[in-house]
Amino acid sequence: MPELRTETMTVNMGPQHPSTHGVLRLVLELDGEQVLSASPTIGYLHTGIEKTAEQKKWQQVIPLVERMDYLSAQSNSMAFCMSVERLLGVDVPGRVKNIRILLAELQRINSHLVWLGTHGMEVGAVSVMLYCFRERELLLNINEMIAGFRLFPSYMRVGGLREDLPRGFHEAVNAFLQRMPAKLDEYEDLLTKNEIYLKRTQGVGVISGDDAVALSLVGPIARAAGVDYDVRKVFPYLGYETYDFNVPTRTAGDVYARYQVRVAEMRESMKICRQALDRITPRGEYAIADTKITPPPKDRVYTEMEALIQHFLIYSQGFTVPAGEAYVPVEGPRGEQGFHVVSDGTNRPWRVKSRAPSLLACQALEKLIVGGLIADVIAVIGSIDVVMGDVDR
């Protein structure tokens, strides 16, 4: 009998692979089914948004930053606006803060629903995706209602919001919040005690809390490993300290713990949404009154000369921002998020840098999958919730 020869195999996973959540390329070295080494290659979606932002006026950057992390558009634009507002030294009205909180939490649910659906599908539970996208549709309808655009509403503006809430907004959000808890139970029925799901996720892709912090995986990944850090609690912004909610944590640090943390986060987000909705009046202030920053209402533009001049100035020259730099952290769906914004005192940003939680999650991928099985690679990529638009920017 001839001597048996073994050799490792190099597998190129991606860039076009249905379960890499975009164009992520992984070069895996395999010994049988075990992963010996992995090297992620990114950059396929690099579009130079940060460079483009330097050519735009401050307000024009908002649609750009929304397209970075395309599953958390409202959080992106909110973080950017808050950094610019900090440089301007303005404080938005309380009603705007509550609306921003509500929209950010709805965005978190939206992002987690996409995550849950795709992650479930990748580990074999295809029906979860259809269920999750059914509820996500309602959230996209709310976006359409407030802004006419479902994925990238550009509703947040520096100095407040673009316009007041539409008629029927409270009813739509209420209907969603009433429907959602039962639907979340339904997803949990499909997965939480599903034996196949447990076998695919428990003890897979384990990371310790210290490693998660060292690799800056702060967010749901670190909370699943026992790191109790949430920007909303530790460095509260927009008045989160006045809301009653918990930060769910688990200690296992595996894929299943991340699932549990995100599902629990959705429930907490709904709690915040309910409180925020109660505080928001259907009509009221939606931006600061500074006419140098926010355009005057349209009815005044049509009837008053002064308002017309302000309107013209804002849309042709924009506004200037005092020189300096600001980074205001917010808790996005993927962890701490923020925009490091530098101004040189003109009407265009000197530098806009996004803190991309997905980039750091992608960096940690190697640590999470080496030593595991190739089938688990899919489960791990799903569980760290990378958005390649945010990785490559």
């Binding site: 950059g43 940060e50 912090v213 460095f235 980074y327 205001v328 701490e336």
Partner: protein
């Protein structure tokens, strides 16, 4: 903890380094540190019991061209234990754009520093993997520098597929087979 207190405790840990506190408008007390002492100061930031900046939130660079020194490398740090934040900045001149890596102290800095090398051309001494991150490997120039042009059309870079004759192909296959055995 304000910038003065931060600088005082760092000065004690790293007596050689020069510090300079700066104004800030957000919740990050800001200070500059001399370029040659970045690694030592970073270690002190992470390990001193009163600081404990275990979480590196962000490393980025800003190009202030044509000012000299043109670059500033910015580190945003968070202490999960003491719940405070800080921003460390390093001035780097354009002609001599390199500084020590902190990826040995915070592993998260690895890709963030690669991104800075890729987009700004600031080299990190001692970096374990100093390659480009986002741009193609054969890209010329550093796109986020202020003197890098925007909205230009470059002729597309094409590579001809490798042409081999049938004899060469058979020879290559044979050579690979021999190498495997």
């Amino acid at each position: 903890m304000d910038a003065a207190a931060l600088v005082a405790s760092l000065q004690q840990a790293v007596p050689d380094a020069t510090f300079e506190s700066a104004v800030t408008v957000d919740l990050h007390p800001t200070f500059y540190v001399s370029r040659d002492h970045v690694a030592a100061v970073a270690r002190a930031l992470r390990d001193s019991s009163s600081l404990k900046f275990s979480f590196l939130a962000e490393v980025t660079a800003v190009d202030y061209w044509p000012r000299d020194p043109r670059f500033e490398v910015v580190y945003v740090l968070v202490s999960l234990e003491h719940k405070h934040r800080a921003r460390m900045k390093v001035r780097v001149s354009g002609g001599d754009a390199h500084l020590a890596t902190v990826s040995t102290i915070w592993p998260a800095a690895n890709w963030l520093e690669r991104e800075i090398w890729d987009l700004f051309g600031i080299a990190f001494d001692g970096h374990p993997d100093p390659r480009r991150l986002l741009m193609p490997e054969d890209w010329e120039g550093f796109p986020l520098r202020k003197d890098s042009p925007v909205q230009i059309r470059r002729p597309p870079h094409v590579a001809e597929p490798l042409q081999v004759t049938p004899e060469e192909f058979r020879h290559n296959v044979e050579r690979d087979r021999l190498a495997r055995e």
